[in-house]
Point group: C2
Chain length 229, copies 2
């Protein structure tokens, strides 16, 4: 809605990946795609079912230029993705509320990735483990390797689906409101309220673990109490 | 993926709104739909374009049993929704990372709403203002009424779309990991790391407002520094 400044136009990897609204906020470099994905915590996965759209929040992980999703073998969404259904996946990081001096100059600061592509069921045993490691360790670096290995029964109850990140675009808005000059004297607070997903004090499971163990490490995108760092 | 306890089964408003995965986490009461929407900050809006799914993060607002979206008149997504396209809208609040004693018992605590329905373009001038007020004040109670009125030109550059919340479902996971009894002695930290979207110190726009004005109020779902409360 706002008229924001143009930061230059980059080349989109495909027509449908091209960002039209606020094209000046678009980035298509893979490093930027990876950075947003690695800091995001949840993905919103959309596909078409019976001709209508369905969107669901899911955990995810990344290995190189592949995004991994997982779930129970009974999940219809993962079944469809495993059979090659088209998906659109958004990962969004909220950075702030932008308050202008007029309603139309309100916005949010954010970094988001939208990926388009067909799912692929992972069947290679090594890639299944790599995908599950990526999802389990996504917000908790090293977590997968700190756990007992998954059993054959657990693996056979789980479906892992990969999505290539080839058709991806990043959209970024940052900075303060871009008010109309004639509004600068409006009697209202204007600026940015930063937002951040913050980790609180860990709550141990009951019954507590039988042995003294180190608390997990959090991914850098999550701020946390001292004891984590 | 986890085998969670059953909290009873409620009646879904429609077949496609019915939650199949972890049906025990489903809630269909309108009060619960409203509560999650009102605390959520961003919506992920999915629709079908040229036969493939597209998902986009958007600001939103709520008035009674209607969800409002807005944007520039050139937005293709809002054009399609205004013409009655089917949409699926997810609003997700992350409450924590759940760390079990095995990979399969990792999860997230969250509250999410998924809405299905057809968009409707808002053309009544009073409802346009009500919809824009809902979006602008969603995270900032009273914000719309603290601003100068939108001009005729601003209103004519803006499209407002409504979605009925009739086909909505809430999904909630809370509490600690539900480990297998045979894993309780695994030498790993297990429990919940709470997550919360937190507001930081407000950053005034430059140039600062010409008059001293009160800072805005935040919606209760956002924790914030003392000076907000």
């Amino acid at each position: 809605m706002e008229q924001e400044q143009d930061a230059g136009t980059e080349m989109a990897p495909s027509e449908r990946a091209r960002i039209r609204q606020h094209a000046d906020r678009a980035r298509y470099g893979m490093d930027e795609v990876f950075a947003v994905l690695d800091e995001g915590v949840v993905a919103h996965v959309a596909l078409v079912r019976d001709g209508t759209p369905v969107v669901v929040p899911m955990a995810f992980g990344r290995v190189e230029d592949r995004l991994y999703l997982h779930g129970g073998v009974a999940s219809r969404l993962l079944q469809a993705l495993g059979q090659g259904a088209e998906a659109s996946v958004a990962v969004t990081i909220l950075d702030g509320l932008v308050l202008g001096r007029s309603a139309i100059k309100h916005s949010m600061n954010y970094r988001s990735v939208v990926v388009h592509g067909r799912g692929r069921e992972v069947t290679d045993p090594d890639e299944i483990v790599a995908g599950l490691r990526a999802v389990t360790s996504h917000n908790l670096p090293g977590r997968w390797d700190a756990l007992r290995p998954a059993t054959r029964r657990e693996l056979s109850a789980t479906r892992v689906v990969a999505l290539q990140l080839a058709e991806s675009a990043v959209k970024v808005r940052s900075g303060g409101p871009l008010d109309y000059p004639e509004d600068l004297d409006e009697p209202t607070w204007a600026g940015v309220i930063p937002l951040r997903l913050t980790a609180g004090e860990p709550v141990p499971a009951s019954p507590a673990a039988a042995v003294a163990v180190a608390e997990p490490i959090l991914q850098p995108g999550l701020t946390a109490p001292e004891r984590f760092s």
